[in-house]
């Protein structure tokens, strides 16, 4: 971390238990200002619990969390002012319209006349024509967008989105990401948890993978793709030939007669072809897939299990 960029979120040795269950087993993370950070992990890994500790919705049993240097327990008022959270559950208050909901939320953050910003958020989230509709009458996707709007009423420098696109249709997702990307470009730090790994891959510059309440991997998205995924090469060999000895270390097995090879980098394709030519094996079919996070994720999680 350079001197010019501060730490948006610092999480140190955070532990949280629910009865016998250790939901967080000593999590430490530093997220620099301006980063688009991904928090990934299977269901029950502790992502929401970690966010809850950060937002003051849960009290950690041990450890310390700060938002832009403000302790979330000791200096909770300032810390909460700096943080906007989109909760995972699709919650709403059925008594109010969209605009009332946002005005009330602004008021909770101490902001009185916020209509200009509220209108801007509504326009960006494609909700302008729903401003005076009661929350009850919105579709799930719209309610989700209102949740995003509620998290933004106080223009928080740090924004946390807990699975914001679960159950949201594709078109809507695109619109939401465009908006969140813009917020990130304007300097907001974004922390995202999602089940859609291609989303994390496209958006996040750095990723932490959580498993059983521990950070099992923390790295830039580019490094993760390189270290845990690499290019995948599928090969169908003529006459069901076996792989030449030289290629066996690259093999990830055979599926329906198709060899699956994992290549550390693109140039390895050259070596594979040379080895096959040398062994006199003809190629019937071949497909090269670029690295993807899904694969990296699965491999990291398997490694964690073994």
């Amino acid at each position: 971390m350079t001197n010019a960029v501060g730490v948006a979120v610092s999480i140190q040795q955070v532990e949280k238990r629910y009865g016998a269950l250790q939901a967080l087993a000593g999590v430490s993370l530093d997220i620099p200002e301006g980063e688009f950070f991904g928090l990934l992990g299977p269901n029950g890994a502790g992502k929401t619990t970690l966010i809850s500790c950060l937002a003051g919705l849960a009290r950690p049993d041990a450890g310390r969390l700060t938002v832009l240097g403000r302790d979330v327990v000791a200096d909770y008022r300032e810390a909460r002012r700096l943080l906007g959270v989109v909760p995972q559950e699709l919650v709403f208050d059925p008594f109010f319209t969209v605009r009332e909901t946002l005005r009330i939320q602004s008021g909770y953050f101490g902001i009185r006349d916020n209509d200009a910003w509220i209108d801007e958020i509504l326009a960006n989230l494609d909700l302008a024509d729903k401003a005076d509709t009661n929350m009850r009458r919105l579709s799930g996707g719209m309610k989700r967008r209102v949740l995003v709007a509620q998290a933004l009423v106080h223009k928080p420098p740090v924004i946390v989105l807990d699975e914001p696109t679960a159950g949201v249709d594709v078109e809507l997702r695109q619109g939401l990401w465009q908006f969140v990307r813009r917020l990130n470009a304007e300097g907001h730090t974004i922390i995202l948890t999602t089940h859609y790994l291609e989303e994390a891959e496209a958006l996040c510059s750095r990723i932490a993978m959580l498993q059983h309440g521990r950070v099992v991997v923390l790295d830039s998205t580019a490094n993760l793709l390189r270290d845990f995924s690499g290019h995948a090469l599928s090969l169908r060999l003529a006459d069901g030939a076996a792989l030449p000895e030289a290629l066996v270390p690259l093999s990830a097995g055979q599926v329906d007669g198709v060899w699956q090879l994992r290549l550390p980098d693109f140039s390895a394709v050259e070596r594979v072809l040379a080895a096959l030519r040398e062994a006199g094996i003809a190629i019937e079919g071949m497909r090269l897939s670029p690295p993807d996070l899904e694969e990296a994720f699965v491999r990291v999680m398997q490694r964690g299990r073994s």
Partner: protein
């Protein structure tokens, strides 16, 4: 300050938007009580000298409505927010636990007072002319406000503690209802057998109603100063307990 005012405003809007259920319905219920009890008992029962039963009953019903509705307001608002998850909207912002407490209690007391005023407005016509003695509005207001605040604070406790609506209903049926019913709404405790008189003296709600009634008649079972002291003490105890729960984040922040 803005946070507190917004939360208070939201809590007021919440019941006002459904005022048919939250204000009109309890007013009608109280009116029915009055019609039935006064019809049956007005000729038979004389509680205080020169006070007709109907006139005696009216302040009791008003106060009972204040208390029950104040409790209902904070408790139902909290349990509903917890069950639906919308409680996060008040937990995420920088609202202190004191602001939180005050907003819920003040809104609850306000609903109690609004309903109480409604009950008074529709029942007062049934009292015979000159039925009330020396009316002292300050006593009336003080007891209504304190009673509403105590029940609002108790509603906060119940709303925090209960995880489901039926747990809240149990709280209401096994604690709030007996406390209000056995408090002299419908009778003077002097008409009770000795044992029950002594039991009633441990019921803070008895003092709320007795003191409130003093404001209408200038007569009561115990001195209004004693009632005020008991009721104030009850307010301090319930508030302290409620604030302690909020401060710890009991059930709300875990």
């Amino acid at each position: 300050m803005v946070s507190f005012r917004t939360l208070l405003w939201k809590e007021l809007l919440r019941f006002w938007k459904v005022s048919f259920q939250t204000v009109a319905a309890p007013v009608v219920t109280a009116l029915l009580y009055l019609l039935i009890f006064s019809h049956v008992l007005d000729e038979q029962v004389q509680v205080y000298e020169s006070v007709r039963y109907t006139a005696f009953l009216i302040p009791g019903l008003v106060m009972m409505s204040v208390l029950q509705n104040a409790f209902a307001n904070s408790s139902s608002s909290l349990i509903q927010a917890k069950v639906t998850g919308s409680i996060v909207f008040v937990l995420l912002p920088p609202i202190s636990y004191l602001e939180f407490f005050l907003a819920y209690v003040l809104a609850a007391a306000t609903r109690g007072l609004v309903v109480g005023a409604g009950v008074l407005a529709v029942t007062v016509w049934f009292a015979p002319a000159g039925a009330f003695g020396t009316v002292t509005p300050l006593w009336i207001l003080a007891f209504a406000l304190l009673g509403g605040a105590i029940m609002g604070a108790l509603g906060v406790v119940a709303g925090i503690w209960a995880d489901k609506f039926d747990q809240l209903a149990a709280f209401q049926n096994f604690l709030i209802m007996p406390l209000t019913m056995l408090s002299g709404v419908f009778y003077s405790i002097h008409s009770l057998p000795g044992f029950w008189q002594r039991v009633s003296q441990f019921n803070p709600v008895f003092y709320m109603i007795d003191g409130f009634r003093y404001g209408f008649f200038g007569t009561s079972d115990v001195s209004p100063l004693v009632s005020l002291a008991v009721v104030t003490a009850a307010f301090v105890v319930v508030s302290a307990f409620s604030l302690a729960l909020l401060r710890r984040g009991y059930k709300l922040r875990n």
